[in-house]
């Protein structure tokens, strides 16, 4: 970011430019908070950063950031911020800049932690786009009904595998 707090774009047409991605011309860059720096969280953070969005990734274990780097996901060209702290803690979220965030993703290992973090983002800080990963299908359905956008990898993953299995001869 430059001094005005605006993102500096690299020229996408410049050959050999390091960052080729930017949001489509009609889409402004979004400020995104990601709670949980596991495989999924770090992947989303890296992708969104490459797409030109402003990313803050939060994890209570600082080693998770270096683990992601070792996996080649959050490497030195990641321009976002890394915050160490509990993603259900309002103070930590405030420090990470939730008050002007456009999107929020909760992908820690704990279903309940994701549900709580997502609800705090949605109902306390009024973040417009909030997504929570919930492994337990029942809990995912319950909170989907309550208006939370939930992704249940258990059901999605199983469906996907079953489809592939039945299509393969």
């Amino acid at each position: 970011m430059n001094v005005n707090g605006k993102r500096k774009w690299s020229n996408p047409n410049k050959p050999g430019g390091r960052h080729h991605y930017r949001p489509p011309y009609n889409q402004p860059a979004l400020k995104l908070l990601i709670v949980g720096c596991g495989r999924v969280g770090s992947q989303i953070a890296a992708d969104m950063d490459r797409f030109g969005h402003q990313v803050v990734i939060i994890d209570k274990d600082p080693n998770q950031f270096s683990r992601a780097a070792t996996r080649g996901v959050l490497t030195t060209d990641f321009k976002g911020d890394q915050v160490v702290g509990n993603g259900t803690d309002a103070d930590v979220l405030r420090r990470a800049g939730i008050e002007d965030a456009d999107g929020f993703v909760a992908v820690t290992e704990g279903d309940n932690r994701n549900i709580m973090a997502a609800q705090v983002a949605k109902h306390v800080f009024k973040v417009p786009r909030v997504v929570a990963r919930i492994y337990d299908p029942e809990r995912a359905e319950a909170y989907e009904k309550l208006g939370l956008h939930t992704i249940c990898p258990t059901i999605e993953g199983a469906k996907h595998i079953e489809k592939t299995l039945l299509e393969t001869h």
Partner: protein, 133 residues
């Protein structure tokens, strides 16, 4: 009264014991089975082993006729989810949470919990002299 207590740690144990002594009907939910075994030796058959955040499990506890549910585990997120399930699925009249992070008192109320109690706040109130106006 019929009261469900989620979490059989120190707080949950003494809370259940006290409620029983006062003549109330209590079900104490504990996830850890060896802890539940110990609780059973102290309190008898009121202990149920399971996850207080799971709707299917909660439905086996007679929660529909509960007058109140107290969630007193050491994890705020678990307390919140258990109480939201009790409220939204089973219409329990009174939901009460133990809150470990004091800033969650307000948040829990915004998210539909009837009462949220923070030990930190209680202790601080005991320390501070009353403010005279």
């Amino acid at each position: 009264m019929y009261v469900i207590v989620v979490g059989g740690g120190t707080v949950g144990y003494y809370m259940s014991r006290d409620l029983l002594e006062r003549g109330h009907e209590v079900t104490l939910i504990e996830k850890n089975s060896s802890r539940a075994d110990w609780l059973e030796t102290q309190l008898g058959s009121i202990v149920m082993r399971g996850d207080g955040c799971e709707v299917k499990f909660l439905s086996q506890t007679g929660i529909e006729r509960a007058d109140a549910i107290l969630a007193v585990t050491a994890d705020d997120e678990d307390n919140l989810i258990a109480l939201q399930m009790a409220k939204k699925h089973f219409n329990v009249k009174k939901t009460i949470a133990r809150v470990n992070n004091p800033s969650n008192v307000e948040i829990f109320k915004m998210l539909g919990v009837d009462e949220a109690v923070s030990a930190t706040d209680v202790l601080l109130a005991a320390l501070e002299p009353p403010i005279t106006t």
